[in-house]
């Protein structure tokens, strides 16, 4: 009986797949952070760009994930099958919350504070790095948190185009109609999402605790 329990039966493979899953998510969220935060900052400086940038990111978000994965198969260079197109797709999904939260976080800084900084002779860079970004940190981190949780969920579909991760169990379980297999993928993925959410929430709280 106990040998049938999915966690024990697939234990070692669950660990490997979890590792793959985490790598997919870490790389894609990492890229999304490195691209999304500067992009979010840029559109606070060039307001004319904010609508098109947020619009495109929004449209990407609405594309069904399975369709996006499928579409990437035919794209040269970054597309095809395997981990690379999966990372591309996950990055695209993670971008919107990060760009949007960076933008709203910075534009949400009290105008009086911004003006006090400018009035005292801060340059735009000083204002950005010493005032606006620190004050927007909570909101930006909330965006990273959402992006990470989304990526962990969507990464379970990545095996559809030949990438690894916990989704491998799910797809295998569907094809052989085995619920144990599906659970072996779904339960760890859900747990990772919960843990990531808690951990990032805790970091967010620590970083913004000072002025509460």
């Amino acid at each position: 009986m106990s040998g049938d329990f999915f966690l024990i039966r697939y234990g070692p493979e669950i660990l490997t797949r979890t590792g793959e899953h985490l790598i997919l998510v870490a790389i894609s969220t990492g890229i999304a952070i490195l691209a999304g935060i500067p992009l979010g900052i840029l559109i606070t400086r060039k307001p004319a760009l904010s609508k098109p940038v947020l619009g495109v990111a929004n449209v990407v978000q609405t594309v069904p994930s399975l369709a996006l994965f499928g579409f990437l198969i035919s794209v040269p260079l970054l597309g095809g099958i395997g981990n690379t197109p999966a990372i591309v797709a996950l990055t695209l999904y993670s971008l919107l919350p990060i760009i949007r939260n960076t933008y709203t976080g910075i534009t949400g800084v009290d105008p009086a504070i911004r003006e006090a900084g400018r009035g005292m002779g801060m340059t735009d860079w000083q204002l950005l790095f010493q005032v606006e970004i620190p004050l927007a940190t909570g909101v930006i981190l909330a965006g990273v948190r959402i992006a990470t949780v989304i990526a962990i969920g969507i990464a379970t579909i990545a095996p559809a185009i030949g990438a690894g991760g916990l989704g491998v169990f799910i797809f295998r379980g569907i094809s052989v109609v085995n619920n144990q297999l599906i659970l072996a993928g779904a339960v760890p993925a859900a747990l990772i999402a919960l843990l990531a959410d808690l951990a990032l929430g805790w970091i967010e709280q620590q970083l913004t605790a000072i002025r509460k």
Binding site: D110, A112, I113, E115, A116, G117, R118, G119, M120, G121, M122, T123, Q126, V131, P134, L135, I210, R211
Partner: protein, 255 residues
């Protein structure tokens, strides 16, 4: 005509126009060194806009504003602002900086040594009546409104600027704290001899602090007089403000 060296700030036919509307029009005035010029007017009369023309948060769309004899448009805006202290309502303190970092901000931006900054900050906090040891490490949200305002004044004085701009700095305080801090500020100003341009809509505050009152109405300066002259002014807007004082006295006499 006083000599140029006695003039801290000069407006020459300065106007500021946005969205096809003049926020201030044809301002002509001299702010003398060491005086407290109070810009008095209703909300939307152009007081704050006038003030922002001085540190070039706005650039005049017509005419010129001269600081230290040089048009603001020819100044490097950063250099200009660092030699002009700026105090606004309490929201102007950075919530994520301690009192010490808030006050030391401009010296730090100008590249002073941390040790010098610390000495300066402690001197300034004591100057504005706050115990430096006690307050340096606190955050703005841990202070009362009056304490925050004192920190704001200390911050504006940090780089020892010859000119201070103050935009309704004491507006959010309760009347008792306000009077206390106004009196202290007057003493401080006389002691330090700073040139101050002070925006308010409170006529009592104007009388208490001003060497001259500049009355603003619909984007124009309709009177620029000493408080004594202002008391006798026949301008309808000045009359309206004086009426506020009189109705207070009448209410008192009626009791």
């Amino acid at each position: 005509m006083p000599e140029t060296s006695e003039i801290a700030v000069e407006f020459r036919d300065a106007s500021y126009r946005v969205h096809n509307r003049n926020l201030v029009s044809d301002l002509n005035l001299n702010v003398r060194l060491g005086e407290v010029l109070v810009l008095l007017g209703r909300s939307g009369s152009g007081k704050t806009t006038t003030m922002k023309l001085i540190n070039r948060l706005h650039a005049p769309t017509a005419g010129q504003v001269l600081v230290g004899g040089k048009p603001t448009t020819e100044w490097n805006p950063i250099a200009l602002r660092r030699r002009i202290g700026y105090v606004i309502q309490e929201t102007g303190l950075f919530p994520h900086f301690t009192v010490e970092r808030n006050v030391g901000l401009v010296p730090a931006l100008s590249g002073c040594k941390p040790k010098q900054i610390k000495t300066r900050v402690y001197d300034l906090l004591n100057l504005v009546g706050l115990d430096a040891e006690q307050f340096a490490g606190r955050y703005p949200h841990q202070l009362s409104g009056g304490q925050r305002q004192r920190v704001g004044v200390a911050r504006a004085l940090a780089a020892d600027p010859p000119v201070l701009l103050m935009d309704e700095p004491f507006g959010a305080l309760d009347p008792i704290t306000r009077l206390e801090i106004q009196k202290e500020f007057r003493r401080l100003q006389q002691e330090l001899g700073k040139t101050v341009i002070f925006v308010t809509h409170d006529i009592q505050e104007a009388f208490l602090l001003a060497s001259r009152i500049g009355l603003m109405h619909e984007g124009r300066m309709v009177a620029l007089e000493t408080p004594a002259e202002f008391m006798r002014s026949q301008h309808p807007e000045a009359q309206a403000f004086l009426q506020c004082l009189r109705s207070l006295e009448q209410a008192r006499d009626g009791l």
